[in-house]
Symmetry: C2
Subunit: 281 residues, 2 copies
């Protein structure tokens, strides 16, 4: 397991951590100044028609792009909605390529609006992902399937566990070309009784590792995630498992915290992330 | 799959649905009058020293006791705390026997206070459950392990999936004597990508089937559960899976709804439960 002490360059900053309060251009220098080695922007942080210029700005600041967040949801009540989602995701893949992103993060969607049929919505999602495979391969931007905590199954992601993500990788990329992999987020996977085995099985498929913490109590299931160290996730053990499965790239901090960290100055947030991750987690 | 139309006697009412606003004695007649065939009380609904009398009162009203809720959490920071939980659960098993309960429902506990070690807390829980086996067998009150939604892993239950509950049953009751089984609750299991296979594998181990619904949005992860039919769970499909796995007893309605159903008159709540379950779910 790597020692992150004094090595903030092994960290990535997901811009959700700063609450999307200002455009990407405004945060790049602060992220670089705090010592991070990479940044992961969200689509709404930038004008995608300027993605190449934004990518250059990021590189000029000495940063890499650990990932680009995220897919439009792929389940929808009708074929037109599903086709629109695929088309939107193709556009995002092109932007991800222009940014120089290591991967495009897939948050796949929950139940199609009006549906109670998990199996059908999962099939829609898999169909949509399959339609992105060719673009991902052409652009050399792999798609990182991120299982989300089952608390989001209804409205954000019917991809709920690491094991399920690996099964989907096998279906979408049976030859292991690497166009699909998994993004593991501590918040989403920590509770899983099959966690250790699933992460070990992800060897060679891991494309991202995100961290924040699970607060007790959790006041809001979406927007009350904790700064690493403030909650109950065994982040060091989890990182050990992920690194034992071959992950040797950035540890990405992604914190949704509407009532706490999103209200603090970005410099304080960034410094705290670095301090916690290089000393504690 | 059974047709519940006109058969409210196949329903059980878990008293949590009424918000624990009055002692058990006050709700028994209303539950019977609404047509339910069984009731599932919680420990704090009654004076356990009077459990035999309460059991008689329930029988005299023409009801059975589908289950008794629920175990004290079995994880704790020290051995004294764990021993106290076991002793408390032994007392509850005696009360369950006096009530005539079909099972004692186990909500096993989350991380021990101050711990981030899921494996260690799970071991504590399994050790505690094993210590209850003899009493459960003597009293002929089996323990129904209820996997809870992973949203509760930190503070309520590190037993998170049906598959995990079955694995624990195998460890606790390797010879299939029936002292341990599983209680399936729609709210907790609906999202599981392994749902169908796990429920099929539960054949012969199912000791309870609870229903409520998952609302979108969910305003409070503990206390904003929905009346069946008001949310996104495919309750008919789920019941079909549970019944295909051999379950032929009560469908128990258990709704935690602090801001909605708990504020309505109990007669309205009970009538709505019966109407929904006998027509829709």
């Amino acid at each position: 397991m790597r020692d992150l002490a004094g090595r903030p360059e092994l960290l990535a900053l997901n811009t959700a951590t700063l609450g999307h309060r200002e455009p990407l251009a405004g945060v790049i220098d602060a992220v670089a100044a705090a010592g991070f080695g990479a940044i992961a922007p969200w689509r709404h942080d930038l004008d995608e028609s300027q993605a190449a210029a934004e990518g250059k700005r990021i590189r000029d600041a000495g940063l890499k792009v650990s990932g680009y967040c995220r897919t439009a949801y792929l389940s929808a009540p009708d074929a037109a909605g599903r086709a629109a989602a695929v088309a939107d995701n193709v556009r995002a893949l092109h932007a991800a390529a222009e940014l120089g992103a290591e991967c495009f993060v897939a948050v796949v969607g929950g139940l199609a609006a009006g549906s109670r049929d998990c199996a059908d919505s999962r099939k829609q999602i898999l169909d949509g992902l399959a339609q992105l495979a060719e673009t991902a391969a052409e652009l050399k931007v792999p798609i990182a399937l991120e299982p989300l905590h089952p608390a989001y199954a209804a409205d954000r992601s019917l991809l709920c566990t690491t094991a399920q993500a690996l099964q989907w990788c096998g279906q979408l990329d049976p030859d292991g070309r690497g166009d699909f992999g998994v993004c593991l987020d501590a918040y989403h996977v920590w509770w899983d009784p099959e966690r250790a085995a699933s992460i070990a099985a992800a060897k060679g498929r891991i494309m991202g590792y995100h961290v924040c913490d699970w607060l007790v109590p959790t006041r809001d299931i979406l927007l009350d995630r904790g700064m690493p160290g403030d909650g109950v996730i065994d982040l060091r053990s989890l990182r050990a498992e992920v690194e034992a499965a071959g992950w040797d790239s950035w540890v990405e901090v992604e914190i949704f915290s509407a009532e706490d960290w999103w209200k603090r100055p970005k410099e304080e947030v960034l410094a705290t992330c670095v301090e916690r991750m290089t000393s504690l987690c």
